[in-house]
Symmetry: C2
Subunit: 132 residues, 2 copies
DNA sequence: TTTGACCCTCACATCCGTGTGAAGGTTCGA
DNA sequence: TCGAACCTTCACACGGATGTGAGGGTCAAA
C-alpha cells in the first residue's frame, strides 16, 4: 500500500512514516514510479512503534529492541554477541525499573482518586440533606 | 539548603531545579539575599519528579498528578470536583495502559535475551569442543 | 487533455527538556 | 580588601519528535 493509506490505517502522518523509515525502524520498498510501497504487516508494526514512542522510548532504543519484538519470533543468530546481549539486558532491566516506578505512581493515583470520590459523595449527601 | 546543594544531592543541575520551579512542580522559598532556599523534603520530591520525567511523562501531567503523590497522604478537599476527578482517572487509566504495554515488551525482550544466551552457550560449547 | 488527488524531496518551524554562558550581586576566607 | 565560589536573571542553542509548506512529478477519471 502507499504512504497515505498506511498513515490513515495507523492514525499517524506520512511525515512520521518517512521519519520512522529514516530512523531505521521500518523497511520500506519502492514501486516503479518512486512511490514508497508498504507491506500490510507494517500496520501492526507501526502501531507497535507508536506505542513505544508514546511510552517515552526513543527511536534509538526502539531500533535496538526491535529484533526482539517481531512476531515470527525468529532468533537472529548474529545477535548472540556479548555486547548485543548486554545492551538488551540493560534495556530489559531499565524497562523493569520503569514499570515498577509507573506502577507505584499508578497505585498512588488510584488510591487518591478513591478518596476523592468518597469525599465528593459525602459532600453530595450533605447537600441533599440540607436541601430536604 | 541552596540550589547547588540540592542539585548535587539529586544529581540534577541548578538549571533544571529552576525549570521545575517555573513549571510549578516544586515550591521554593527565598532567603533575605534573594537566593533560593530549598526545604530538605525536596530531595525526595525532586528525585520523584526526575523518575516520572525519565519515564516519559511531561511536566504538565506531573503537575496534575503531583497532589496524589505527596507523602503526608492528605486529601486536598478542593480537588474533589468532577473535572479534577475525571482528569486524574484519565491519567490513572493511561498509566495502566502504558504499564501493560511496557510489560509486554519487557517480557518479549526477556524471552529473546534468554534464547540468545542459550544460543551463545551453544556456540561456546561447539568452539570448546572443536578446540579440544 | 486537463484537473485533482496522490506522491516525492527538502527545508524551515514548533515544543519540550536540557545545556551553556554572559553580566552582575553576595558571602566567606586568605 | 580581594578573590573564589557561590548565587541571580536572561538569552541563546541543541536534539528529538512532529508539523507545515514549497516546488515538482505521477496517475486516473472527467
Amino acid at each position: 500500500m502507499r504512504i497515505g493509506e498506511l498513515a490513515e490505517r495507523t492514525a499517524t502522518s506520512p511525515r512520521l512514516l518517512r521519519y520512522y523509515e529514516e530512523q531505521g525502524l521500518i523497511r520500506v520498498g519502492r514501486s516503479a514510479n518512486g512511490y514508497r510501497d508498504y507491506d500490510a504487516a507494517l500496520v501492526d508494526q507501526v502501531a507497535h512503534i507508536r506505542g513505544l514512542l508514546d511510552a517515552g522510548l526513543s527511536t534509538r532504543i526502539i531500533r535496538q529492541i526491535l529484533p526482539c519484538l517481531n512476531e515470527p519470533s525468529e532468533i537472529h543468530f548474529a545477535d548472540a554477541t556479548p555486547d548485543i546481549i548486554a545492551t538488551l539486558e540493560g534495556h530489559r532491566d531499565r524497562l523493569a525499573e520503569r514499570i515498577a516506578l509507573l506502577t507505584r505512581n499508578h497505585d498512588a493515583i488510584a488510591e487518591y482518586v478513591g478518596s476523592l470520590k468518597q469525599c465528593a459523595l459525602g459532600v453530595e449527601r450533605a447537600e441533599v440533606g440540607s436541601a430536604a
